[in-house]
């Protein structure tokens, strides 16, 4: 840490000299491409490496993990295990006897439980209320969260780039129209509208349960593209006044290419940072919907619905006695969101060191 601090002071107080020094260093030693520079700065930050490690772990866990489980033990997320065990239930009550002394009354009953097995060597986190292996379900839940978040962010970026690019480049009425639509969507209350939409999909019986996830992605995209559109528009408004764009215009390049080949790539660093930071947000939304039972339908696993088992309105038993059913899922959500925001912050600092926070 101490070294870092010193360097920073030098950079801050001596920026001009430092630029010269960098230039001189480049002449004397080797020229590093901008991409390499970004990568170097990215890997210099400890937090971004931690974030990267967290995300790589999650990817291995949720994409390679199920393959290993399937290959070794041959089961998937919906395999039911019936593990019998006796569960003692002791109730006790105190009452005053006829002789004036206090007596305690014990009632011991034994019930045969086949689900909700405790953690064991075969089932590292035990089994849940339906007899599914929790550890395996965490992997499949991770798949859902990661796939949804990447697809949603990809779609948001595509829509945002197209609409924001058009608005920023053409200005005038195109800008007005697009930005008013953006205003309206940005003003929609996110979670309540997602609830309405997901409830709609859940109640249409003609939609097969396994297709609901696609609708879910579409809704999440619909609620989230406005941020990207605003950023792209802002960047393009700034960039289009620069000389190289005038050069592009005078050489007679088509408007489509001017926008998507000359303007948008320059807005790329900001886009990548926003997209990375957005991934965590999508995971949180998705898990909230799953928690409310409006996400991926049962019996498929999702982290949110695994935490929903602990909902005390459905009885306190799991919340109190079976933390193995819901705590790991919550921790994985935190790891995912935290990992993406570490990487996003690291990328932002790496792309633009002046923006260093």
């Amino acid at each position: 840490m101490a070294v870092d601090k010193e360097k920073d002071i030098i950079i801050n107080s001596n920026e001009e000299n430092n630029d010269h020094a960098e230039l001189a260093a480049a002449q004397h030693f080797k020229v590093i491409s901008p991409g390499r520079m970004v990568a170097k700065r990215f890997f210099k930050s400890k937090l971004s490496i931690v974030g990267l490690a967290m995300i790589i772990f999650l990817f291995l866990f949720s994409f390679v993990g199920p393959l290993i489980v399937d290959a070794t033990w041959g089961y998937k997320e919906t395999q039911v295990f019936k593990i019998e065990r006796n569960s003692d239930m002791i109730t006790k009550a105190e009452f005053p006897g006829p002789d004036g002394k206090e007596y305690t009354y014990y009632d011991k009953s034994q019930t045969l439980v086949i689900f909700k097995a405790p953690p064991s060597a075969e089932h590292w986190l035990g089994t849940d209320t339906s007899g599914f292996d929790i550890f395996t379900r965490l992997m499949y839940g991770g798949r859902i969260s990661l796939v949804i978040s990447f697809i949603v962010i990809f779609l948001e970026t595509v829509i945002g780039v197209i609409l924001g690019g058009l608005a920023g480049y053409f200005g005038k009425w195109v800008d007005q129209l697009v930005m008013r639509i953006v205003d309206i969507f940005a003003c929609l209350p996110g979670l309540p509208i997602l609830l309405v939409l997901s409830a709609t999909i859940n109640s249409i019986e003609s939609i097969p349960a396994e297709h609901r996830i696609y609708y879910l992605m579409a809704f999440l995209t619909l609620m989230g593209w406005t941020g990207t559109a605003r950023i792209v528009r802002g960047q393009i408004l700034m960039l289009r006044e620069q000389e190289y764009m005038m050069a592009a215009e005078t050489t007679g390049i088509r408007a489509f290419h001017r926008i998507f080949r000359h303007l948008v790539p320059n807005a790329m660093p900001q886009l990548i940072v926003t997209a990375t930071l957005g991934l965590g947000g999508v995971i949180l939304y998705e898990s909230t919907l799953s928690y409310l039972g409006l996400g991926v339908p049962f019996p498929r696993a999702a982290w949110g619905s695994m935490i929903a088992l602990a909902d005390p309105s459905k009885g306190q038993e799991i919340l109190a006695n079976y933390p193995n059913m819901w705590v790991p899922a919550g921790l994985l959500i935190v790891i995912a969101v935290l990992g993406f925001s570490f990487i996003g912050d690291g990328l932002r600092d790496a792309f633009d060191p002046r923006m260093k926070r």
Partner: protein, 332 residues
């Protein structure tokens, strides 16, 4: 300037009109509506016929789901809303405005207290982290702040309930009042303390989730100011560090801080849907979640429009505050 605000307000009204049309369309597109939900059991047992259901639907204005029908009922909703009448909630059997005004205050109380805590805790932490940039304190606080924003509210609530309500047994698990306790009618103070006791966990959850954002925002803006020339001048003059930090740097950090924090104020009335539901606190968020799940269209419309108005108001307030705290800013 007045022209600017008039234009902004006109624009906001336009946005709200678009938002209302969109929400109305979406909620009317729900194929199973409130009546279907309510009559499903009676239909199955034969206590009601399809004709009865159809009649009920007509009564509730849910019969015509064609496009022109939706437009017609939307226009009816719009004209009555203009007159300040948001209609009757199907689920709660009361005017929507009455439900809103009944349940809003508990939500506001929770949100406002956690908002104050967020300011009291977040800002000093942000200042300290920025002054000691890259120190152990800075890293710890930053990571904790990020963790706060990464935690899903339902998970944090479940952890809190497990630890404080079940294991330690020092805080009540759910609800707003102790059901087993009977208070005398005039024991206002006791009732108040009972309620406050029930709100400790929800408020802590909301505070923990939001304090990180304030802390990071303060830190970022403080760092920007601390790097500027006049801070170096202030230090060169030999001013003491507290004067430099609090008088010269923090006062300028106040500009973005006040702007964003005041913009949050209207949102405090919106309720915290998930947290209120997990803790079974009868606030506006809890009521809205129930209404949404049941397809109570007048309430969905009323609540969502209310939220949108709060968002628009928040943006307007932060614009005004921006001008108030920074006299250099002229809006046009």
């Amino acid at each position: 300037m007045w022209k600017y605000f008039l234009r902004r307000i006109a624009l906001s009204l336009l946005i709200l009109l678009g938002v209302s049309a969109l929400i109305y369309l979406l909620s009317m597109l729900m194929p199973a509506d409130y009546i279907d939900n309510q009559t499903a059991a009676a239909l199955q047992s034969g206590a009601m016929t399809m004709e009865d259901v159809q009649r009920l639907k007509e009564l509730y204005g849910l019969a015509d789901k064609s496009f022109t029908g939706i437009i017609k009922s939307y226009m009816a909703w719009l004209t009555s809303t203009m007159k300040g009448d948001l209609g009757y909630s199907f689920l709660y059997g009361k005017p929507v405005t009455a439900v809103l005004s009944d349940y809003i205050w508990i939500s506001f109380a929770i949100a406002f207290i956690s908002y104050l805590l967020q300011i009291i805790i977040g800002i000093p932490m942000g200042i300290k982290a920025s002054v000691n940039q890259y120190s152990a304190y800075d890293y710890t606080v930053s990571v904790f702040a990020m963790m706060g924003t990464a935690l899903p509210s339902f998970f944090l609530s479940a952890l809190f309930m497990n630890v404080f309500a079940i294991r330690l047994g020092i805080l009540p698990l759910q609800g707003l009042t102790t059901a087993t306790k009977i208070f005398a009618k005039d024991a206002h103070l006791q009732i108040f303390f009972d309620k406050a006791w029930h709100l400790v966990m929800p408020i802590s959850v909301l505070t923990l989730l939001s304090v990180g954002g304030t802390m990071r925002f303060t830190r970022t803006n403080m760092l920007e100011v601390l790097g500027s020339d006049y801070i170096r001048t202030a230090r060169a003059k030999g001013l003491s560090e507290p004067v430099v930090v609090y008088k010269h740097a923090f006062r300028n950090t106040m500009i973005p801080l006040v702007t964003s924090l005041s913009g949050m104020l209207p949102g405090l009335f919106g309720g915290a849907m998930i947290t209120e539901t997990v803790f079974a606190i009868p606030g506006i968020g809890y009521m809205a979640l129930r209404a949404t799940q049941q397809g109570d269209i007048p309430f969905i419309m009323g609540y969502n429009m209310f939220l949108s108005i709060l968002t628009v108001a928040g943006m307007l307030i932060s614009d005004i505050m921006y001008m108030v705290v920074d006299p250099r800013v002229k809006l046009s």
